[in-house]
């Protein structure tokens, strides 16, 4: 075949001599015809013209003929190429069958790298790129009220007066609306349940760009007349669940916190508000009606989320600039309420991904490293392979094969490997997603994200490996094109030292890079694992393994007085304690890892200007015992700490360290208001306990200390109930629910779950991150091991004569093996050196995920280095043994 293989993909070219032939053919006809006409008696002067006239348009005929020739040429090219490909493929598969080991390793490498990456990239792709369940979501922002000191912002809510100021004073933000995410008891004619509710201001539905599928949104007067219009919108899910999707739902009432609200609209399926799972929407004018709580006009009462759309003409930077101005102006107008207060924009996607976004990028980075390692492996395998086939290539060239033919043969082989690896990779990706998907802990990904196999991630991974395959597949072909066949034949096709040295160096480089990259991944996995272990080792200060918990809300309508609440609590406590297997019951405003504790300020009697922010917990007398919290000093609460007794409080050791460094606080008094006449007597100190975030230091600036108050002295309607049980806590759920139903059939039970669930949720992300990194790094180590094995085995094969000579002149078998191991170690150490530098530079990206572990943790680095040395040694083992066992005589005489 004379034409380069790639010509087949171009339209056929017609050669200039073909055009000339066509012209000659027609010219001959015209000449002969002219002669004939002359012999028939025509005037010679007119004969030529007559012949041409009879022939017709010669140029048109020529063009037709040229077109025919071109088409034929194209077809011939395609046929030849197809035949070539068929031949190449047959040859490729025969080659593969002859070396199943190589084929297996190459396909497995490709498959693992492709599959692993596609699975991870699919998750990342879904999280970062999948459409959010909002129209034009990229313009949607949260306007976060922040507390900014020394450039450090922490997000707090916004108050209504503040929200109104922002809305009135900005032009770059449109449709600004405030949202309060609460929950309410949904009762009336069916099982009581707590549903997530969004209390929203005017413009909310405009900002969200959502219109009801049924009914309408709120009217202006429904926003402006407090308490006057008991109307609500519901989600499509609630409509289906409670009303069977019946359109006559409009005008019907739903009971929210025992008050009837008329349904005026149903929102589209998939819309769950800012919380993504909200089911009921009411106007802010109904806030007090619904909650019995009226904080709306207090400037310091910051519990709202604020959403808006960024005006496209101005953009987010301008909007943020405008907000800064407004915030500074408000600080001037309300120096106390707006101390250090700012407002900062946060895109919706950013808000929903939160810290997960960064984690996903890190995982994706790990995936890319793995892909690079796999690519190096494939390149290495192909190079080793190409070398092994130098003799064959030389022979084929010598027998007349064009270099393009040899190249297409090598490419076909790479291609066949890539396709098999791709199929395996696709399988692994599908399987990986099916296994990984359910393992992704809740809260790591926003609710709207559904990881599914993405075509783009697969194709990108495939493309990277494909490029590597083509490039490395072509290298030997290119060198074969240049090779001096005669010289090579004389060498016996073994390859000259000079020619192959470069390729061998390239292989060394690949192995060094692989070892280095594997080290980077292992360091990442090691750091995350150690950090995760450190989190597990945290003493939470509570014993929560055997505790089942639930949340209750006592509506004011049925429990108007504090006494009513007290009666309910006592009866609940008594009946729960009677459940067989329940050892102890405690009722409080909040429980560890379940959220919900509120912040407040307390003042010392001896320093009334120094306000101390603290987390407030109202607990019953059994709280500390039920949760296994040890008393350090003084006493905990007793039944004598009743409503009429002196107000008492219990603090933690952290509070003592922070605020009473010079002595015990027991016996000291504090005030909840600067001018209050009722002092709080501190009666006890308990050990440090972690009720919120496990990893935030109790001494951290933003982490306020905890103070406990007795339930009997401070009323509450929101109850968290803890039951210490003997046996599996989950099995007590139904009995606890039944007790509540006995007492009040209309009281929904929320978050009925073991306390360990909250704890697990906190450790889920680090567990997941450490797990994934572990898989990646293990794969990386295996691939690096395979890569190194390949190179060492190849080197031993190359040096078999040298080794034989050394053996023949007296080198011992072990010394020969040692030299092979030494080669491996040299490669490993170079790789480790490079990898360590890269890891030291790169590991700080993990810092925000590391707990009590430095990103340069020497233990991790040393352990990982040791692991890689072991990997290198095991990779060197087989080649070393082979070198040792090789019979010197045989090696010398072979070839």
């Amino acid at each position: 075949m004379k034409r380069p293989f790639y010509r087949a993909f171009r339209p056929g070219q017609i050669r200039s001599d073909e055009s000339a032939d066509i012209r000659d053919e027609i010219e001959l006809y015209l000449e002969l015809r002219t002669e004939e006409l002359i012999t028939e008696g025509m005037d010679p002067a007119q004969a030529r013209q007559a012949a041409e006239e009879r022939f017709g348009d010669t140029r048109r005929v020529e063009a037709t003929l040229r077109g025919q020739a071109r088409r034929r040429r194209t077809r011939e090219g395609m046929m030849a190429t197809l035949a070539g490909v068929r031949q190449d493929l047959g040859y490729a598969f025969r080659t593969m069958r002859r070396s199943p080991g190589f084929t297996f390793v190459a396909v497995l490498t490709l498959g693992l790298a492709l599959g692993g990456n596609t699975a991870i990239f699919s998750v990342v792709d879904a999280a970062l790129l999948q459409a959010m369940p909002f129209e034009d979501a990229d313009q949607l922002v949260f306007v976060n009220g922040t507390h900014r000191v020394d450039g450090q912002s922490s997000i707090r809510g916004a108050s209504f007066p503040e929200f109104r100021d922002w809305k009135e004073r900005t032009r770059s933000l449109t449709s600004m609306a405030a949202v309060s995410n609460i929950s309410a008891a949904l009762t009336g004619g069916f099982d009581a349940e707590r549903v997530p509710v969004e209390v929203v201001t005017e413009d909310y539905f405009e900002a969200m760009m959502v219109t009801p599928t049924l009914g309408r949104t709120f009217r202006a007067e429904e926003h402006s007349e407090p308490g006057a219009h008991t109307v609500a919108l519901i989600s499509a899910g609630l409509w289906e669940r409670r009303f069977g999707g019946d359109p006559s739902v409009l005008g019907q009432d739903v009971l929210l916190n025992d008050r009837p609200f008329q349904v005026v609209g149903v929102l589209p399926a998939g819309f769950g508000g800012t919380a993504l799972n909200s089911e009921v929407w009411v106007s802010e004018a109904m806030f007090e009606t619904l909650t019995g709580f009226a904080p709306l006009e207090q400037r310091g009462s910051r519990f709202l989320s604020v959403i808006a759309r960024v005006d496209q003409a101005m953009g987010p930077d301008e909007a943020q600039g405008e907000l800064e101005g407004v915030a500074l102006a408000l600080q001037g107008e309300f120096p106390e309420a707006h101390l250090d207060r700012f407002a900062e924009l946060q895109g919706f996607r950013e808000a929903y991904l939160d810290t997960t976004g960064q984690l996903l990028w890190i995982l994706m980075g790990a995936g890319v490293l793995l892909l690079l390692i796999a690519s190096a492996n494939v390149a290495n395998l192909l190079l080793v392979r190409a070398h092994g086939r130098t003799r064959e290539i030389v022979l084929r060239r010598a027998l007349g094969a064009e270099s393009s033919r040899v190249a297409s043969q090598l490419l076909t082989e790479s291609g066949a490997l890539a396709v098999m690896g791709g199929v395996l990779g696709l399988g692994i990706a599908v399987l990986g997603l099916r296994v990984l998907g359910p393992m992704i802990p809740q809260g790591v990904l926003p609710g709207y994200v559904e990881p599914s196999l993405g075509a783009a991630p697969f194709l990108v991974s495939m493309l990277v490996l494909g490029i590597v395959g083509v490039v490395t597949g072509l290298l030997p072909a290119l060198s074969s094109a240049r090779m001096n066949i005669a010289a090579r034949m004389r060498e016996g096709g073994r390859g000259a030292v000079g020619g192959m040295g470069g390729r061998f160096r390239a292989q060394h480089l690949f192995v060094v890079a692989q070892v280095g990259l594997a080290l980077v991944l292992l360091v990442g996995a090691g750091l995350l694992t150690r950090s995760f272990q450190a989190q597990l080792a945290i003493d939470a200060g509570t014993e929560f393994d055997q505790v089942m918990a639930m949340g209750l809300q006592l509506p004011e309508s049925r429990y108007p007085a504090r006494e009513d609440v007290g009666v309910f609590i006592d009866e609940l406590d008594r009946r729960l304690s009677e459940i067989p297997g329940v050892a102890q019951v405690s009722i409080a405003t909040d429980l560890p890892f379940r959220g919900g504790s509120s912040g407040a300020y307390i003042f010392r009697a001896d320093a009334p200007d120094d306000r101390i922010r603290f987390h407030q917990h109202v607990v019953d007398v059994d709280y500390f015992e039920t949760l296994g919290v040890s008393l350090v000093e003084g006493r905990t609460f007793t039944r004598t700490d009743g409503a009429d007794a002196p107000v008492v409080g219990v603090v933690t050791e952290a509070m003592v360290r922070r605020e009473f460094p010079n002595g015990s606080p027991v016996g000291q008094t504090m005030y909840l208001r600067p001018s209050s006449q009722r002092p709080v007597l501190i009666v006890g100190v308990v050990e440090d306990l972690r009720l919120r975030n496990l990893t935030t230091s109790l001494m951290a600036e933003g982490n306020s200390p905890d103070v406990f108050f007795p339930l009997a002295q401070r009323g509450t309607r929101g109850l968290e109930v803890a039951a210490r049980v003997v046996g599996d806590p989950v099995t007590f759920g139904p009995a606890m629910r039944a007790v509540v139903a006995e007492l009040d059939a209309d009281m929904p039970v929320s978050d009925l779950a073991p306390l360990t669930d909250g704890y697990r949720a906190q450790t889920a992300t680090p567990r997941f991150a450490a797990f994934l990194m572990g898989i990646f790094s293990a794969l990386a180590a295996v691939l690096a091991c395979v890569g190194m094995y390949g190179v060492l085995a190849f080197a031993v094969g190359q040096r078999s004569q040298e080794i034989a000579i050394r053996r023949a002149i007296g080198a011992s078998a072990p010394s020969v093996a040692r030299s092979v191991v030494y080669d491996g170690l040299r490669l490993a150490v170079s790789g480790l050196a490079v990898g360590t530098i890269v890891a030291l530079v790169g590991s700080p990206v993990l810092e925000s995920y590391l707990f009590q572990v430095e990103s340069t943790d020497p233990t991790t680095f040393l352990t990982v280095g040791a692991v890689m040395i072991v990997v290198a040694l095991s990779a060197a083992l087989a080649p070393a043994l082979r070198a040792m066992r090789r019979d010197p005589a045989e090696a010398l005489y072979s070839d």
Binding site: E25, Y29, F55, V61, Q68
Partner: protein
């Protein structure tokens, strides 16, 4: 049969494939160049069939492309450089089956025409 009618006859106006058959038949014995093929068709049909020159060469090239004809450049009797066409083995078998079909076809047409008169 008037001269004008003969003049219009060509591969595309004859039944499809007829010109192909004529070409294959004329090149069966000896290789011929295009002009000679046209002339042979005219002479063998005793002047009844004449091939429009504009259609002859595309037909020749097409048949060559299909592998029914093969070609070779050579010299004419008068020493001119010319492309000679000869039927291939494939062309021969095509010619056989197609001529049989043609014969059957023309017999059928003749039968209808004579039966109707």
């Amino acid at each position: 049969m008037t001269r004008s009618l003969r003049g219009r006859m060509s591969g595309s106006n004859l039944f499809t494939g007829t010109l192909d058959l004529l070409i294959l038949r004329t090149t069966e014995a000896t290789p011929l160049h295009g002009y000679a093929i046209g002339k042979a068709i005219r002479e063998l049909s005793e002047g009844v069939l004449s091939v429009e020159e504009g259609a002859l060469y595309p037909a020749l090239h097409r048949l060559e492309g299909k592998g029914l004809l093969e070609s070779e450049w050579g010299k004419t009797d008068t020493g001119r450089r010319a492309k000679f066409y000869r039927v291939t083995q494939l062309g021969r078998s095509h010619l056989e089956s197609e001529s049989a079909r043609w014969a059957e076809h023309s017999r059928a047409v003749a039968a209808v025409l004579s039966g109707g008169s």
